[in-house]
């Protein structure tokens, strides 16, 4: 008879269907959120799996130890507190890759910061793809020819004086050299910024070699097999032309590379930002150049690349366990720099979905409890009658539980269908909103000058910066209904229904039947 009561109540009571609709809406929202959350987690994992083949070995500057810091006076104009403590050396990286299997490559970080003592290995004396400096020098040259002291203010005269002009010509019209251990596994080549067009890549055994772009080679009349001088200039070189060159490392061109896209370049782009001007050299030569400059030939952070991305975690652990690596000064960190930008919008989606699910689950539970409580309160008379007729509280509770679980089941199936259709649409529209596919834009001279005139230097910097392509987020979030999602949502709903029915009905069942009846009549 209980089954019949459940059946009759389900098909005849409209409030049950309102409850079902409410549960379906809540379940659809939660389930859609859960599917998108899961798809974004999966996308991040795939990015990690594809591009997350590296980790960082970092040296930490101990600021409390005075032995690690040295106050150095370079000349009358420049002095600095320099870190001389433990850093990452080429020898350490070689030892790690020798002791641990599965390491494909290692590279130095080229970013400079307070701790990084390495001089920018500015390369002068080459013909470059012209940018800002070429244009600026031309302007100054013209002014220098036309003006005499007294024509302009002393400050402006200082700015355009001959010595300053020479220094500028020598040091600003320049490009950079970057040290790579195994270029084919370096970030630039892995993320699709560069590709090899002729010759070969730089390998770990190389010494005194270089790679240039065909554009650079053409401008300087170079070909594979030619030798170029890589110069080391002192730190104060930019302020004094007379400071000269500290030393030179000759490097043989072994390969040509080129950017994989057309970089927008104009007279506001700095020469060293123009990818076609870059020179790549081997890490040993780079370290040698640093030593010529009077530095340690070491770096603060190195990237270690592994053969199999799924082994990154294990290999990181093995590096941590190396007994000769002083844990006080060195640490191992996960490196997501190659895909960080691509993963950022997906991470935002995952966070938003996670928060949305939490808010929905909490507010949905509260709403469901209130509606269920109201429904059960409306059925107090029926409860009293059934109790008076000798039907036990346990049986009544089972009836209401079964009714609501059936409604929940129907709502869940509806939600499953709707969420499966809605989740890909929601996921993709969020992805496209958060990571719009911007076409590479070349800004006009007028646009840049307009930004300069309104002193919007941020926009100006953005307009003249190199736009590296890098890794892009996926076009779509691949939404799949997983058993885990179904189980977790279904179990959550069932648990919520049981708790709500138990809580809402418990009070009524604790009363004597006559009290229940007298309450409602």
């Amino acid at each position: 008879m209980a089954k019949k009561r459940i059946f009759l109540s389900l098909i005849r009571k409209k409030s049950n269907w309102f409850m079902c609709l409410l549960m379906a809406i809540l379940a659809t929202l939660v389930f859609t959120g859960a599917l998108v959350w899961q798809a974004s987690s999966q996308s991040i994992k795939e990015l990690e799996k594809t591009y997350g083949s590296s980790f960082k070995l970092a040296a930490y500057a101990d600021r409390s130890n005075p032995d690690f810091w040295e106050y150095k006076i370079f000349d009358e104009n420049y002095s600095a507190n320099i870190y001389i403590g433990p850093r990452v050396s080429l020898e350490m990286l070689e030892r790690i890759s020798g002791e641990i299997d599965g390491i494909a490559n290692y590279e130095w970080e080229d970013k400079t910061d307070l701790m990084n003592n390495s001089v920018a290995l500015v390369q002068m004396g080459f013909q470059l793809v012209p940018g800002f400096s070429a244009s600026d020098l031309k302007f100054r040259e013209e002014r220098y020819k036309q003006w005499k002291k007294g024509d302009i203010s002393d400050q402006d005269w200082q700015m355009y004086d001959e010595q300053h002009y020479k220094n500028s010509k020598y040091h600003i019209y320049a490009t950079d050299a970057y040290g790579l251990n195994n270029s084919q596994y370096s970030t630039y080549f892995c993320n699709g910024t560069f590709r090899l067009v002729s010759g070969r890549h730089i390998s770990p055994s190389d010494y005194h070699v270089a790679m240039v772009t065909p554009t650079f080679a053409k401008l300087n009349g170079l070909k594979i097999g030619d030798t170029i001088p890589l110069m080391v200039s002192p730190l104060n070189a930019s302020t004094s032309f007379d400071a000269g060159v500290l030393g030179t490392v000759d490097a043989v061109i072994i390969g040509m590379f080129e950017p994989t896209y057309e970089q927008p370049v104009n007279e506001y782009t700095s020469e060293d930002d123009i990818l076609n001007n870059w020179i790549l050299t081997d890490l040993k030569s780079y370290s040698e150049m640093e030593k010529i400059a009077g530095w340690s030939g070491k770096t603060n952070r190195a990237f270690i690349y592994v053969d199999d991305p799924s082994m990154v975690g294990d290999i990181m652990e093995q590096v941590k366990q190396l007994d000769w690596l002083d844990k006080r000064y060195y640490g191992v960190e996960k490196d997501d720099s190659s895909y960080h930008e691509a993963a950022a919008p997906i991470r935002t989606i995952r966070l938003a979905m996670g928060a949305g699910i939490a808010v929905l689950a909490a507010s949905g539970a509260a709403l469901m409890y209130l509606v269920l409580k109201h429904n059960i309160a409306r059925r107090e008379r029926e409860t009293g009658i059934l109790m008076a007729l000798g039907i036990t509280g346990k049986s009544i509770k089972r009836q209401l539980l079964a009714e609501n679980l059936i409604l929940g089941g129907i709502a869940f199936l509806l939600a499953l269908g709707i969420a499966n259709a809605a989740a890909p649409i929601l996921g993709d529209s969020l992805l496209h909103t958060l990571s719009p596919r911007e076409e590479m834009q070349e800004y006009t001279k007028e646009e840049i000058e307009a930004a300069i005139s309104r002193q919007d230097y941020e926009a100006c910097e953005k307009m003249t910066a190199p736009q590296t392509k890098g890794i892009e987020p996926p076009d779509t979030l691949s939404v799949h209904t997983s058993l885990f999602c179904i189980l977790i949502t279904g179990f959550g709903m069932a648990l919520l229904i049981c708790l709500c029915v138990n809580e809402a009905l418990g009070k009524t069942l604790r009363l004597e039947p006559s009290q229940v009846l007298s309450m409602v009549t």
């Binding site: 005849r12 009658i385 059934l386 007729l389």
Partner: protein, 232 residues
């Protein structure tokens, strides 16, 4: 069959409704409990039916304390109610209501109470008061329990319907051997019972109260302590 031993009940201790009541009911008889509206006679019915827990004293069914037996089980196994307000489940049809706790085919009970067959599939809310009361009686009869407790079973009905209901209850007691206890404030109805208990001032009196009471029911003592609580 069912008897009380020093039964006491109150909602508020200072205003007792029943005090040391000793009364017994046997099967095959139709009993009438007589008293003014709201005086507490329905409370007695609730206690006998296990809808309320006695404050002191006992209610024995076939010699066994119903509290020890379990009020839920007592309601399930021994008693069937006919409420003044019918208390039918409003989303069910006539047949479905009767089938709720039926141990006999609902059709038999519905035929006994004389409800037309074409009404059996109707929702109970579409029936008249008299028809709904017949459904309530059919539900009680179909549950085939030895005790039938009827609270003002004809309270809302016209004279003909009331007589018909009374006949059903009488038949159920005399022909089917049930113990039928009926609460009423109508002396005319009570006069049809095998035994009448008159409820006054927390006590029950048994006996033939004669025709004088037929016209003087307002003399029956009203108990204000229960008027608010008794409203089935």
């Amino acid at each position: 069959m069912i008897q009380t031993e020093n039964l006491t009940f109150y909602y508020n201790e200072s205003k007792k409704i029943l005090e040391d009541v000793n009364i017994s009911f046997e099967k095959g008889n139709l009993y009438a409990i007589l008293g003014a509206s709201g005086c507490g006679k329905s409370t007695m019915l609730s206690l006998l039916g296990g809808l309320l827990m006695p404050k002191s004293g006992k209610i024995l069914y076939e010699g066994e304390d119903i509290t020890a037996y379990g009020l839920d089980r007592h309601r399930q196994d021994h008693v069937a109610f006919i409420f003044q307000g019918y208390n039918l489940i409003e989303y069910m049809t006539v047949e479905e209501n009767v089938a709720l706790t039926a141990k006999q085919p609902p059709e038999t009970a519905l035929q006994k109470v004389g409800l037309e067959k074409e009404l059996w599939k109707h929702n109970v809310l579409k029936l008249s008061g008299g028809q709904q009361q017949r459904v309530a009686i059919a539900r009680a009869l179909a549950s085939d329990k030895p005790i039938l407790l009827a609270d003002e079973p004809t309270g809302n009905l016209d004279e003909d319907s009331a007589q018909a209901i009374l006949n059903i209850l009488s038949k159920s007691a005399h022909d089917e051997g049930r113990c039928v206890i009926m609460v009423t404030h109508s002396m005319a109805l009570a006069a049809e019972a095998d035994e009448i208990y008159r409820y006054t001032n927390t006590k029950f009196q048994q006996g033939d109260f004669g025709p004088a009471l037929l016209t003087n029911t307002e003399n029956l003592l009203e108990n204000p302590a229960v008027q608010e609580r008794e409203s089935w």
